[in-house]
């Protein structure tokens, strides 16, 4: 079932799995794209055994401000190399110095294929950590006197030309707001239905889902932060707010949830497109049905031209001209 999108880059994974397990190194020079203007460049600039993987990600400067460097160093430590010109971050894998253990190699491939996810994860990790600190502070403070500061500043990640993510941590929640733009009338309608499903989900059966809000004007938290410039584009802007509660932010859950929430936009757009594809199927089917009806309505061959007639008993005879 292709309900969710994968978090890793399939192509990067396939390519590396093949390279790391093959005994004959070959030259590579491939450009690979990923969602939201992410571009990878996989190449072997110097030796066939040294694979350079570079990522270009639009909001890298925003991410750096929120601790991306730390996260990347934690995940890729020894593999980090000098950044290739034109890209934001590079890794170098030396095929001659691979870990011996096949499981470790597999893990390396997995981690590299999650490069985009890990880069984007930084602000979320930071927010969750802040949340835990604030929660601790709130717990230690007396219930009457509310702590001075229980909300962090809002982190803005401008990950697309016209769209951004806003992340804010507080002592009892982490709020993630996406601004979304629809250029298409149809898309907006599908998007609305889609989002109302999200909003309704909690009411129906999935009690522990995060709270989701959808509105057309900027929510309170980010008012004043919304980039004038980002609103220049045509199309209607909407804001989707996710409220992550402490139960989403526990140590066991957080990795999974970070992955989920960052793919939200892609997931959202994927499903809008899937829904359209589905509607098209139904339309084609309907057209086929109508055509059938129309074909039934076609008159038989004109009476006068008809050479063959039937008698009352059903025997046919030819009319002589």
């Amino acid at each position: 079932m292709s309900l969710l999108l994968e978090y890793h880059n399939l192509l990067l994974k396939t390519l590396l799995t093949e390279r790391l397990n093959s005994s004959t190194p070959t030259g590579i020079d491939q450009i690979i794209s990923d969602f939201d203007n992410v571009t990878y460049h996989v190449s072997t600039p110097e030796k066939k055994t040294q694979i350079l993987i570079s990522i270009s990600i639009k909001c890298f400067q925003d991410l750096l401000q929120h601790g991306a460097q730390g996260v990347l160093e934690r995940e890729y430590g020894p593999y980090i190399t000098e950044t290739e010109a034109g890209y934001d971050f590079s890794l170098l894998i030396d095929l001659e110095a691979l870990p011996e253990d096949p499981a470790e190699r597999e893990d390396l491939v997995r981690r590299v294929s999650l490069l985009r996810r890990n880069t984007l994860a930084a602000p979320f990790e930071k927010a969750i950590n802040t949340h835990h600190q604030l929660a601790e502070a709130a717990k230690s403070a007396s219930p009457e006197s509310a702590p001075q500061q229980n909300e962090s500043e809002v982190m803005v990640i401008r990950y697309r030309d016209e769209e951004a993510m806003y992340i804010q941590a507080s002592h009892d929640r982490v709020t993630v707001i996406f601004s979304t733009v629809f250029r298409e009338e149809t898309d907006r309608i599908f998007g609305k239905v889609f989002l109302s499903e999200f909003v309704d989900a909690r009411r129906r059966a999935i009690q522990n889902a995060p709270q989701v809000l959808y509105r057309n004007d900027p929510p309170l938290e980010i008012r004043g932060l919304v980039d004038e410039q980002q609103q220049q584009g045509q199309g209607e802007i909407g804001y989707v707010t996710f409220v992550l509660f402490p139960r989403h932010l526990t140590a066991q859950r957080r990795e999974e949830n970070i992955s989920h929430i960052q793919t939200f936009r892609d997931y959202f757009h994927y499903h809008i497109k899937a829904a359209k594809a589905y509607m098209h199927s139904r339309m084609r089917r309907r057209v086929a049905d109508f055509l059938k009806v129309l074909n039934r309505a076609k008159p038989e061959v004109e009476e006068g031209e008809k050479k063959e007639r039937k008698t009352a008993t059903g025997r046919s005879f030819r009319v002589q001209a």
Partner: protein, 437 residues
């Protein structure tokens, strides 16, 4: 490069789809153009060609909440499918049926094709179509309605930023520009495109296919495999499965200049006989001797008679006929630039033999006409067959080459233009890579 997203190049063929990004030297994904959907195969099981559709679309996971209730009410069957190799794997088990949405190069089942593209784009290539330009391919003589359908899906379902649809044969010509033999980047030439099911000979003049002269030959990769298999069976080899035959075909086959001389060479040099080891289930091995099929199998292109009883015209003769039936003013260019494309043209010395045989035919004809005209000397005619490194995925590579040029985007139709004019806009495209670029 990083500032602009690379164009997505998709070459969906009858057998295999080649997907990737412009600028790369090989496609990122190559997998069967197959889709596995719930229920028996063959167009969703209703027999009337209707798609199997779910009751109602849904956006939420069917697995959440009380599954029975939710999924019954808001099913997600429309997303329950697999494409490519996964489709083949799933279809061998219960529950899924397989369908090939493209037949004879043309899309037959648009519902399946739409979902095939959906998965290709989101799951495999992982791109947001709104951010990318797309270069798709089509067979020669594709009906314009088919183009329009493609555009409808690409623009309306996927909102792709821009679209260019190119004819595979023209892209195959562009791919040959990598060969050192090609000096002028012309889009005139004869494309010999041989895949698994069928071989086409397509004359192209200045980027336009000469539709009336196209010929196809019912001999291609699959037939070579069958022929290898029949030779293995004649000898009673321990394993003569299709898979073994295919492996032998791919690893050992080559084209020889002369069958009789090749037989004699095998007599003189017994080391020409090879061995192929088949790994069987349960760790057993079987050794298959590989002999004359090494050169006899591809020989069926040049002597179809040894394989088929109803198709007897050799490939060189067909190529000659195709060029002879084309307008007289382009024939010289067609003989000079015969370009190979597709997996079944990769046999060693295939191009050389083809060139020699066509040259023979041409020279005989020139000689005959010289004799008839009573001693007038002809200026001669150059026959050249181009073999190049990117032959296997020729059309895809041509697309990659053209898709990375700075002017590519200006040749595409954009979403805005589509919205303005409608599907008919894709009936015409400016010629990419043609004169003046």
């Amino acid at each position: 490069m990083a500032s602009q997203t690379p164009a997505v190049v998709m070459d969906n063929g009858t057998g295999f789809s080649k997907l990737g990004f412009a600028g790369n030297d090989s496609p990122s994904f190559v997998f069967p153009t197959a889709i596995a959907t719930k229920g028996p195969g063959g167009g969703g099981g209703t027999g009337s060609g209707r798609p199997a559709v779910a009751q109602k679309p849904s956006y939420l996971t069917g697995g959440a909440g009380p599954a029975g209730h939710l999924s019954a009410k808001r099913g997600t069957e429309d997303l329950d499918y697999f494409i490519g190799d996964e489709a083949i794997a799933q279809a061998s088990g219960p529950g899924y049926g397989i369908d090939y949405p493209i037949r004879h190069g043309q899309v037959e089942n648009w519902d399946h094709m739409e979902r095939f593209w959906q998965s290709s784009i989101f799951k495999y290539l992982r791109v947001e179509p709104e951010d990318h330009y797309f270069l798709l391919t089509e067979p020669p003589l594709n009906p314009p309605e088919s183009r329009e359908n493609t555009a409808e899906i690409m623009f309306e379902s996927f909102n792709c930023a821009g679209l260019y649809i190119a004819v595979q044969a023209v892209l195959a010509l562009a791919a040959s520009w990598t060969s050192s033999k090609v000096t002028d980047r012309s889009l005139t030439g004869t494309v010999i495109d041989s895949g698994d099911g069928v071989t086409h000979v397509i004359p192209v003049a200045e980027g336009y296919v000469i539709g009336s002269s196209i010929k196809s030959i019912p001999i291609a990769g699959r037939d070579i495999t069958y022929f290898v298999q029949s030779l293995l069976r004649d000898r009673g080899e321990p394993d003569s499965s299709l898979k073994t035959a295919e492996q032998i075909k791919e690893q050992f086959c080559y084209v020889c200049p002369d069958v009789v001389k090749e037989f004699t060479r095998f007599d003189r040099e017994p080391e020409r006989f090879q061995k192929y080891v088949v790994e069987k289930l349960g760790g057993k091995q079987a050794t298959v001797d590989v002999g004359y099929e090494q050169f006899l199998a591809p020989e069926i292109f040049f002597n179809p008679e040894i394989y088929s009883s109803d198709f007897l015209t050799p490939l060189p003769t067909v190529v000659d006929q195709v060029i002879q039936s084309s307008p007289i003013d382009v024939r010289r260019g067609l003989y000079k630039n015969i370009v190979l494309s597709g997996g079944s043209t990769l046999y060693k010395d295939f191009g050389r033999r083809l060139q020699r045989d066509i040259r023979h035919l041409v020279e005989n004809r020139i000689h005959a006409s010289e004799v008839r005209s009573g001693g007038v000397k002809s200026g001669g005619l150059e026959v050249q067959v181009i073999t190049h490194k990117r032959q296997r995925h020729g059309p895809w590579y041509g697309g990659s080459l053209l898709g990375q040029t700075p002017e590519f985007r200006s040749y595409c139709h954009t979403k805005a233009e589509y919205d303005e004019i409608g599907p008919s806009i894709v009936r015409r495209f400016a010629l990419l890579g043609g004169p003046g670029t």
